[in-house]
């Protein structure tokens, strides 16, 4: 491995890291919103919409991100819907992640016992306020381990972005290998940059998990 080559490539990888992080986190944000809304619809058993959520989950959990991205990027323009590669990345990641996030939030909501709801109702809380003040906070803190796992999974899935010509980490590595054939150096940098991106998430996730557990569960 050539040290000088590695150093000279770092700026390219840095740029790619920022792009990956930007699209990755925007996609994750979208997936969290979808997850929360979807799980709430399931929780309140909203007629019809509940079914749609179910179908959505099945579709997006059971097809690869690669194919979802191709569909959004290449097939939708054929019916007149054109979006940029970046937006496509955010949308694709958000939709895939949303399906997983719904399931994670849902299991958190289900873990809160019904008698907690009844106890809130008996104090005069409306159903909406029971959800907002009593059920959701407990469900969220129980969902944290699953959410952290999902976030790490989604950040890793960003490597598929290279297929729709987004200059992410994977794309940059492949591009540089194609031009200068320094395979080992590029693969080394690729691993290092993915670790730089993901290890902080793991660490922060573990800290948050411990914090919310300390806040009062396990009785």
């Amino acid at each position: 491995m050539d040290k000088d080559v590695i150093i000279s490539y770092i700026p390219h990888f840095k740029e790619a890291l920022f792009l990956t992080l930007k699209i990755g986190w925007l996609g994750i944000l979208l997936s969290l919103i979808i997850g929360l809304v979807g799980a709430s619809l399931l929780h309140f058993k909203v007629k019809f919409l509940q079914k749609i959520v179910g179908i959505y989950i099945e579709i997006f959990r059971n097809t690869p991100l690669l194919i979802q991205l191709f569909f959004i990027y290449f097939a939708l323009p054929k019916v007149g819907i054109q979006i940029t590669a970046e937006k496509c990345g955010v949308l694709g990641l958000g939709l895939l992640g949303g399906a997983y996030m719904i399931e994670t939030f849902r299991s958190g909501l289900e873990a809160v016992t019904t008698i907690q709801t009844e106890s809130a109702l008996s104090l005069g809380f409306s159903k909406a306020k029971t959800f907002r003040y009593i059920i959701l906070p407990q469900a969220l803190s129980m969902s944290i381990p699953g959410l952290v796992a999902n976030i790490i999974f989604l950040l890793k899935e960003t490597s598929v972005f290279s297929t729709i010509s987004l200059m992410d980490l994977m794309f940059t590595a492949k591009d540089l290998i194609g031009m200068y054939a320094k395979t080992t150096e590029n693969l080394f940098l690729l691993v290092v940059f993915y670790l730089i991106m993901l290890i902080p998430v793991s660490i922060i996730g573990a800290i948050v998990e411990r914090k919310v557990r300390y806040a009062g569960f396990g009785d």
């Binding site: 009844e118 106890s119 109702l121 104090l123 003040y133 009593i134």
Partner: protein, 249 residues
């Protein structure tokens, strides 16, 4: 008459299983009604019907003249008149003791934080838990949790409080501290409906005893001493006899 609670011909079934049949009951302001009876006789279900946690198939429940019906919009308002304390405490685990106490008055009744906090601390002090105000429920003992749950119900200023076997999950020594709190409430003139298996407590605190069996009221009397000395129905006699047997052991 100032009937606070009025139940007429209450009938409730779960999937064609009749669990409560033709229950009639009226409770006056300040009255303490104790419901006893064998497990599975419908006592708890009856309490849950009273604040609209269960739907009923026929009959009417009125509190302060207003009908309790889980399908009505005003059930949320009405429930503030009917407090409930559960066997399993059901404190909110994500909130500290003081936040457990003030959340309903603040978010539901829109009362001022300072005013509610002041009242909450006063009541906490009265149940000897002032030093626990910033702790989380999991850091408290069962008896302490239950006393917090009672204070929480009181802070909404209900007209009537339902107690559903609130000491059944507690160690004997903790039973005492909870019953003491309830007795104090009774002395202050709170209207209470209590489901319990603590016969001595029932004897001490009740203005009226109701003996439930198989989903119906078998015996109802204001003569509390008389009931425990010599119940009028055979079923109540048998039930009490078994209880005395276990306490004699």
């Amino acid at each position: 008459m100032n009937e606070l609670l009025d139940v007429k011909y209450l009938h409730k079934e779960f999937d064609n299983n009749v669990v409560l049949k033709d229950i009639n009951l009226s409770v006056k302001k300040g009255e303490v009604v104790v419901i006893i009876g064998p497990s599975g006789c419908g006592k708890s279900t009856f309490l849950r019907c009273l604040n609209g946690l269960e739907e009923i198939q026929s009959g009417v429940i009125r509190v302060d003249g207003l009908e309790v019906n889980p399908k009505n919009k005003d059930i949320v308002k009405l429930r503030q008149k009917i407090g409930m304390v559960f066997q399993s405490y059901e404190l909110f685990p994500h909130l500290s003791v003081i936040d457990n106490l003030i959340i309903a008055p603040m978010k539901v009744q829109k009362r001022k934080r300072e005013e509610v906090t002041k009242e909450a601390l006063k009541l906490l002090d009265r149940v000897d838990l002032l030093d626990k105000k910033d702790m989380y429920p999991r850091q408290l003992s069962g008896g302490q949790k239950q006393r917090v749950a009672i204070v929480r119900a009181l802070l909404v200023h209900p007209e009537i409080i339902l107690f559903d076997e609130v000491t059944a999950a507690l160690d004997p020594e903790m039973v005492y501290e909870v019953l003491e709190t309830m007795q104090e409430l009774a002395r202050q003139g709170s209207t209470m409906i209590i489901v319990t298996h603590e016969m001595n407590f029932a004897k001490a605190v009740a203005d009226k005893i109701i003996f439930f069996d198989k989903g119906e009221i078998v015996e109802e009397t204001d003569d509390v001493e008389g009931f425990f000395a010599s119940p009028k129905t055979e079923r109540a006699a048998k039930f009490l006899d078994r209880f005395q047997f276990t306490t004699r052991l």
